[in-house]
């Protein structure tokens, strides 16, 4: 049994004080419906991907489905921190391949900026161990900064290499009208920006954002019937790692990503070198460098040198929609946003950022500071 993506939608990411969370969910929902050419009555179930702790509205799945007019079909929320909507997509895949539903809507949505930055940092800090880590004022930048320091000490990765990831992703973000930031930056600009948690500068960090993205997934029969170009979910991998640094074996890799990608490659029967285009979870520049290695795109320790190969025309173009870095990171929406970017590529609809002849794409979505990883391999 296969599952295909027949419709996609993506809101503008950024500060979205102009809409409520329901209205924000509405934008990609309608776009995805139109894209799939179906009516909302055709949707059998909805899975919302969101991290509820950032939003004033509790139990968010109910209010959203009511607003979208999806009652009485079933809905629920999946939460895996920043991997919430990739987890929702995995759940939808399971429902479809089990034969329980024919068409499932996956909707990632997040309004983070209802909270001031320091509150967001506090909420995120509690994704670490509240008893033995968070009381020290740990933040996500702090965790990834510790990974960066370890990577630098072990492999000689440099601040310039970290900065070059930001430069690349902002370059592609400048061509993405849905991105939060649409301006090019330079290595100097990154290195001159404020230190957030040493050695990470402001421009090494993605921005908290509001945003939403939707994916409509259908079973094989419906996919073929409704779409000329269904994009198949050909490999799914999910894995976890110890959530606390107190027990994480190694700080230069996210073992969850290694595990999850191997499972996904095996299911899709492909190797890392077969991937034509990838979206990786660049919440911080070091995260993208670790992803190159964890996904097997380059050798362990060589991530810093691989950035040049991640441009269009390189070995594997990565985050050519701007990544989390330039698009912004509304955490519940990011997983769907990544899949949206890959679907656009595989359909040949990515415009100036199109990877020629892309057949196989990969989306790598991390939750927390590495405790969850969800990989989706997509193919034409």
């Amino acid at each position: 049994m296969k599952a295909g993506i027949i419709g996609i939608g993506h809101s503008k990411f950024g500060r979205r004080d102009d809409v409520t969370v329901q209205e924000l969910a509405f934008e990609p929902f309608v776009e995805a419906l139109n894209d799939a050419g179906i009516r909302r009555q055709d949707i059998d179930a909805t899975i919302i991907g969101a991290s509820p702790v950032y939003m004033t509205q509790r139990s968010i799945a109910g209010p959203i489905t009511e607003y979208l007019g999806l009652n009485p079909q079933p809905v629920w929320l999946t939460e895996a921190a920043c991997g919430s909507s990739a987890a929702a997509l995995r759940t939808a895949y399971a429902l479809i391949t089990a034969g329980m539903h024919e068409i499932v809507l996956v909707l990632g949505v997040q309004k983070m900026l209802e909270n001031p930055t320091s509150e967001i940092l506090k909420i995120m800090g509690r994704s670490g161990d509240v008893q033995f880590e968070a009381p020290f004022g740990t933040t996500f930048a702090n965790y990834y900064a510790m990974y960066a320091n370890s990577h630098m000490a072990k492999y000689g990765t440099t601040s310039e290499q970290l900065a070059s990831v930001a430069v690349k992703n902002h370059h592609y973000g400048s061509m993405n009208p849905l991105a939060m930031f649409q301006k090019e930056i330079t290595i100097e600009r990154v290195l001159e920006s404020q230190i957030i948690a040493s050695p990470l500068h402001l421009f090494d960090c993605c921005a908290n954002a509001d945003g939403s993205a939707a994916i409509i997934l259908a079973n094989e029969e419906k996919s073929k019937q409704l779409s000329d170009t269904p994009i198949w979910l050909s490999g799914l991998g999910a894995a976890t790692a110890p959530f606390s640094l107190l027990t994480r074996p190694e700080l230069t890799t996210l073992s969850s990503a290694v595990e999850a990608s191997q499972i996904a490659y095996a299911q899709a029967k492909v190797n890392p070198s077969d991937i034509d285009v990838a979206e990786v979870h660049d919440c911080f520049t070091i995260a993208e460098i670790m992803a190159y290695e964890d996904l097997g795109f380059t050798d362990r320790g060589k991530g810093g040198e691989f950035v040049e190969e991640a441009y269009l025309g390189g070995k594997i173009p990565i985050n050519v929609d701007g990544g989390l870095k330039a698009k912004g990171h509304p955490i519940g929406a990011t997983g769907c946003s990544q899949v949206y970017g890959i679907v656009k590529q595989l359909r040949g609809e990515a415009g100036k950022n199109q990877v020629d002849g892309a057949e196989i794409g990969l989306a790598h979505n991390i939750g927390g500071h590495g405790q969850y990883c969800l990989i989706h391999i997509l193919s034409r």
């Binding site: 001031p116 008893q131 033995f132 004022g137 930048a141 320091n149 948690a197 040493s198 107190l246």
Partner: protein, 421 residues
């Protein structure tokens, strides 16, 4: 590095407050092994657990064995606290509640016996290195919460005497440790006392005034106290000089946390006889000077969000009640209140607190020339029956500069012994 120094470096910044931010209550004692764990921590020991069946060591301790899925074989196991730095990072932009500590260094330490702790390192005068040998010491605060501190240096064993030194430091915890403050009008009177008090509380002080000799002698006095200060001459009514003051302060210390707009003058004349010169000079220094300084520092404070800053302005009881012959002074001081409240509103979102101190009759050069009869009459009206001293005001200025007043902005604190309540 000698051992005494190591003990001194263990001085910890306001640890009680840290945990309050999170409101974690009884987190440790809830655990099945919590009481025992806490007892060890209170004794300064790291007691983890061990599963005697599979020999797995746990720190932080676990009440159940992860491998054997039972608590039957769990027994206490002593950890030395010795370990190596696995990784670290200096946090400059902290989460809510931690602003007052930033920047601070978080480290993960691999304990020699196994297990890890996340800890704070206070002494980073020498850059921390991955793989560096350190000693971890626990400290229980508020009955049930633990802070781990990292001790550095070659000889990282510490004696009880040295711990006593640390204790003494903790008791005398300085409220403005590592903060950078600009104090205008610091040459004399209240400003001078504030600069000294700030230095005693651990702040680095940029002392500014028009008369160079006054502030040079103040810097010497602060240095003799073991504090740190620089002198910059500045007339606050001159925009260029104010901009230079802020620029030089930032060049010296890279940041400013506190601005005290204390510079002020008084020149008296009845309204009918008040010249333009008197009116303008008083308004220009007291009101426009305060505005100039706030305008110059605001972009820096805004950029520092969420660390923000503290602005302390000076009004006077003369503003509240008026004073014969002091039309310019009273008007400038009432204007300062309106300026402060506006600044408080504009800058609140950047975590900048703007408050006013309203001194009453204080024994300074400004009041020294008062005729003795008037002085006696005024003191007779003060419920506390004494003149105020600069230190009375300086203590309030410390409070307004410290994290104790984080939830106050746009306020006026009257320091007048009850004179104009």
């Amino acid at each position: 590095m000698d051992t005494v120094n190591i003990a001194l470096f263990t001085f910890f910044r306001g640890e009680d407050e840290t945990m309050k931010q999170f409101g974690y209550k009884n987190y440790i004692s809830q655990s099945k092994i919590g009481e025992r764990f806490l007892k060890a921590l209170r004794e300064g020991r790291l007691e983890g657990t061990k599963c005697s069946q599979c020999s797995t060591l746990y720190y932080p301790p676990r009440a159940t064995c992860k491998e054997c899925l039972t608590d039957k074989f769990i027994e206490p196991s002593e950890f030395s606290g010795k370990g190596k730095v696995l990784s670290f990072s200096e946090v400059h932009i902290p989460p809510a509640g931690f602003e007052r500590f930033a920047p601070y260094t978080v480290t993960v330490v691999d304990l020699k016996e196994g297990g890890r702790v996340v800890a704070w390192v206070d002494d980073v005068t020498d850059p921390l290195k991955i793989g560096e040998d350190v000693l971890v010491k626990p400290e229980v605060i508020e009955g049930d919460r633990v802070i781990y501190r990292v001790l550095r240096g070659k000889d990282i064993t510490i004696s009880s005497e040295e711990l006593a030194v640390t204790e003494e430091f903790k008791v005398k915890a300085k409220r403005l440790m590592n903060k950078v403050a600009i104090v205008t009008g610091a040459g004399k009177g209240i400003g001078r006392e504030i600069a000294l008090e700030y230095a005693r509380e651990g702040a680095k002080v940029v002392v500014a005034a028009r008369t160079k000799s006054d502030i040079d002698s103040l810097v010497n006095e602060i240095m003799e106290l073991g504090g740190e200060a620089i002198a910059i001459t500045c007339d606050v009514s001159n925009v260029e000089e104010v901009n230079r003051l802020v620029r030089e302060a930032l060049e010296n210390y890279q940041r400013v946390d506190i601005l005290v707009n204390n510079a002020g003058i008084t020149r008296s004349a009845l309204i009918a006889k008040m010249t333009d010169d008197i009116w303008n000079s008083v308004i220009n220094i007291n009101l426009t000077g305060t505005f100039n300084c706030i305008r110059a520092i605001a972009p820096h404070f805004m950029k520092k969000r969420p660390l923000g800053g503290k602005i302390i302005n000076f009004t006077s009881t003369a503003a509240k009640y008026g004073n014969v012959g002091q039309a310019a002074y009273a008007a400038s001081k009432w204007g300062t209140i309106a300026l402060s409240k506006t600044a408080a509103r504009e800058l609140a979102r950047y975590k900048v607190n703007v408050n006013c101190i309203m001194p009453g009759y204080i024994d300074t050069a400004m009041t020294a020339g008062t005729p003795a009869v008037y002085k006696e009459q005024t003191i007779a009206q003060i419920p506390q029956m004494r003149i105020g001293y600069p230190v009375d005001v300086a203590k309030i200025a410390v409070f307004l500069a410290s994290s104790d007043s984080d939830y106050m902005t746009g306020s006026i604190l009257q320091v007048d012994g009850g004179l104009r309540m």
